[in-house]
Amino acid sequence: MISRVLVPMDGSEMSEHALEYALEAYPTAEITVLRVVGEPSPMWGEASGLALADNLEEAAQNLAEPTFARARELVADADGDADLETAVELGHPVRSIINRADDYDTVVIGSHGGTVADRLYVGNVAKQVVHRSPTPVVVVR
């Protein structure tokens, strides 16, 4: 019985598909949407901005909020009464996801998000998560 599901989202359409799939496949499960902020980027702006913020928690939460808002919309669209938990992590998405995955029964992740530049700096997150996750991973296309 899958009761705790982790859905990492990066704001991309593919990650929205992952959430939709999770809602459909595990209607009774408790779903946690994880948003990783401050990823490596061409100018490292977001990461440095967070590091320099007066209140790190608040700044990170603000950056993640649009993704959470979108996730709540998707839950509402799916007519789910699923409890949506949210979580914010910093830095490299793969590490953040792997660190959390242990607390969940499964990870549902979009096959790819972002731009070519993101891929260069971060790599294909889904692929790396599949390789290193301690829990089963569902990759949504």
């Binding site: 401050g38 490596p40 980027s41 061409p42 100018m43 490292w44 702006g45 977001e46 990461a47 440095s48 901005g49 967070l50 590091a51 320099l52 913020a53 007066d54 209140n55 790190l56 928690e57 990170a60 979580a87 914010v88 992590e89 910093l90 830095g91 490299h92 590490r95 953040s96 731009t115 070519v116 530049a117 260069l120 700096y121 971060v122």
Partner: protein
Amino acid sequence: MVETILLVGVVASIFVGFNIGGSSTGIAWGPAVGAGLLRKTTAAALMTFFVFLGGWTVGRNVMDTLSEGIITIDISLGAGVAVLFFIGLGILVANVFGVPVPTSMTTVGAIAGLGLATGTLNFETIGWIVSWWIVTPIIGFWIGATIGRYIYPELNRRFEIKASEGALLTFDRSGSIPKPTLGPNTTNQELVGTIVVFIIGCYMAFSAGASNVPNAVAPLVSSGALEANPAIIVATVAIGLGGFTIARRTMESVGGELSDIPLLAALIVMITASTITTLLSWAGIPISLVMSSVMTIVGLGWGRATRPVTAQEAIRGESDKELAPGALTAEPDAPVTPIGEEEPEEVLDAGDLFNPRAVMKYISMWVIGPSMSTLLAYGFFVAVPFVG
């Protein structure tokens, strides 16, 4: 025939300059435009002027290095055109994939490839340049880290410049002449801060001109096909063209990223990067503005993220998350009962933002870019020797 080749060369120069204008305008003016201090068109006009100034003065030293220093012979017109194509190719890749490929490094790489193929590479000069390429990011990082760790918090307390909601300035149109007044939520301090960003933007445009103008034209100047003065003007016009057109996009992408960091931090980054770039250009070393900018940004963030909590701060209770109860336990998994303040569900560690491996991976792209351009140019000039 020569005229045709020169024409092709000038077109290639303009392509290179155009793209340089796009990317460097974004860096120099992104924060000021983002803060609403000036319009993109004004930024492009200022950019063109200060790029010209930088190229005309300090840029000549870099021009000498590129056109005469790296290889012992003059770059023939045909070879110069080919080199320009490799520089353009590098820029094209950078734009298509959204990766900052340092143009100065691509240029030196392509010319060095020509030198290797013809056996005329001046190893002393190239060693000198490359050693500065290694030292410069370290200097930028070190300056950033020192400021971020020891000085930034104090600066931030004294000069709080934050971009407030709403436009910086609004125009009071009740009179016959629109009178600028402070926008909603704008403080005097914010206004002063933004004007400083504006001045620093001019400085950065100057350093961009000093380091980048030669990239667009030096391969043509070397053979004497184009005199230095008209060449600088051609490059300026091309960079300006890029500033007025494609920079509208880069001011949002690159500039947008710079806007992710506080205005004060952006200022520090811009001053540091421009100074490094201007000084090295003055010494005749081709250096990329992007490289020193990024390393200063990373340094600032890293320095701030990893700063230790001083005992004094701890006593005064001024520390933030470092003293969250979870951080002090020896066993991270042990349940901790928070004392006093309610502990947040999870404690974010700013140190996670600068994973050394991710930073190294990023820096490795600076090695790959110029190496690729050297190899490509080398292969080309070996295969087509008559051009050299």
